[in-house]
Amino acid sequence: MSLISISGLEKTFRSRQGADYTAIRDFDLEIHEGEFFCLLGPSGCGKTTVLNIIAGFDEQTRGDVMLDGRPIGGPGEDRGVVFQGDDPLFTWCSALQNVEFGPRLRGMSRGERESHARKYIELVGLGGQEEKFPGELSGGMKQRIQIARCLANESKMLLMDEPFGALDAQTRSIMQEQLARIWHQNETPVLFITHDIDEAVTLGSRIGVMTAGPESTLKGIVDVNLGAERRRTDDDFMQVYRVVYDMIREEVLQSLSREDQEAAA
């Protein structure tokens, strides 16, 4: 049985002007145990909408969204979320206090949760930064604290919404390598939202490509059988890249032409 099972998902946003917007329609997706699923699509296609529904932040208009065979009803500790920006970090808490937040909620003793949190801060390579506050950390460090905070909560799966989208190119590629390394250590299932093909091919074990909005759906799924060591210059990497690129190019063009039409209207 798959971990996440979505069938016939539809999401319509009610607008005050009366013109409702159907972002997602007829969307089906299965996410299995132990896989790193990248959801890839042009901007504005509703990737984040899908993630928000799985996270329980938003409710679907129609369709079934199941976690372990049970419908999702609101956010919960079984689905850790890593957000794109740094605003979900608690600015009044040190890095350590941020990471031990989940265990603290469940009443883990002070000493126990501290050593637990330190382990995960070490894992994301931020040993020695425990006492710093988010305002004192760089963008990449803050994202790693977010990841450590989710990992320390030991949730059933991770939902990541373009977590490296706001970082510079060099930092991003190092963060991708680190995330891949961490993921291969524990293989917690991940749903990773991105619009970057390179990022999807670097990280994913499967890549789902979405069509351009409105009424986006899943266009197709690409299996990535590249193993743990991936190099952008390898032939098989390029091959997967090309397959995904051809799938998404059409959608991006469509999305752009729609934006042009809207601008002209």
Binding site: R79, K132, S138, R149
Partner: protein, 302 residues
């Protein structure tokens, strides 16, 4: 025979030493500039006061600073000034604490629950436009001229500002912080105490600082009208006997007292609540007509 130890000369190029002493000089000049201008600015007030009162508008109704300071010394020596200040500060302490406590609770409730906000909004949005000074009459009728009426007025002067800033703080919390807490398994109660409350602390403290200034204004007016002791009674009673220097002593005391209390407040915020203020974005609140910025830089940016 052992070789002679190598001679090490400790002289450095003259230009190097010169540069170093220039640096030290520049640093000294900078700090002298900083504190010097501050001190000069402070004392220029007295010089200006002296010039105006002695050479421009020489009058018994406008005493120069020296007689005023002499009078202040006299009033301090016989303990009268401290007695007045003590009364006023006690009233402010009680009223301000009460007003802040009530304001924080109501503000948190209004910020957290839409129903409470809708219910209380008409009260807050009308009552806050009645100046505390206008409530003095009512307070005296209700509670007499004793301490209770002063406590009531100061509480009244404090409570609405604190309510507004607290409620604004709660409603301006970043949704992703709440979502993150939910995804980590926090219950509604845990979110309130571990996320909403700490995120609101900078707003609460800013509101309290503004309210403190308001409390100062109000206590003087209240004591002016109905009290036998307190710094506000000093100018009014002195007026009856044309004791002009006493009036100026009272004004000077108010200025220094307000300055000192606000500095203490700022220091306490920095010392005990620095971590609650986001380092980059200072908490900035538009409160009535005044734009208040509370900037607490706990540490430098990494």
């Amino acid at each position: 025979m052992s070789p002679a130890p190598e001679q090490v000369t400790a002289t450095r190029p003259a230009s190097d030493m010169q540069r170093e002493s220039e640096d030290a000089w520049a640093a000294l000049k900078k700090s002298a500039n900083h504190y010097g201008i501050y001190t000069v600015g402070f004392f220029s007030l007295f010089v200006l006061w002296h010039i105006v009162s002695v050479y421009l508008f020489s009058s018994v109704l406008f005493p120069p600073p020296l007689p005023v300071l002499a009078k202040a010394g006299e009033l301090m020596a016989n303990g009268k000034l401290f007695e007045h200040v003590g009364y006023s500060m006690m009233r402010i302490a009680v009223g301000f604490t009460l007003g802040s406590a009530i304001g924080i609770v109501i503000g948190l409730l209004m910020g957290s629950f839409a129903s409470v906000r809708r219910f209380l909004d008409p009260y807050v949005e009308t009552l806050r436009f009645i100046p505390a000074v206008a409530m003095i009459t009512v307070a005296v009728i209700w509670f007499g001229i004793g301490e209770t009426s002063k406590f009531f007025i100061i509480t009244y002067a404090t409570v609405f500002i604190v309510i507004l800033t607290t409620a604004a703080g709660v409603s301006s919390i970043v949704p992703n912080k709440v979502r993150a807490a939910q995804s980590l398994g926090a219950t509604r109660t845990q979110i309130f105490f571990l996320v909403t409350l700490p995120a609101t602390v900078p707003f609460i403290l800013t509101g309290m600082r503004v309210a403190m200034a308001n409390a100062f204004t109000t206590i003087v007016a209240a004591e002016l009208v109905a009290a036998n002791h307190g710094i506000g009674t000093l100018p009014w009673q002195s007026r009856l006997y044309m004791l002009i220097p006493e009036i100026f002593v009272a004004l000077l005391t108010l200025a220094l007292l307000g300055f000192t209390v606000d500095r203490c407040f700022r220091w306490a915020i920095y010392k005990f609540a620095g971590r609650y203020s986001p380092v980059r974005a200072a908490a900035q609140i538009v409160c009535g007509d005044c734009y208040v910025g509370l900037s607490l830089r706990r540490t430098k940016h990494a």
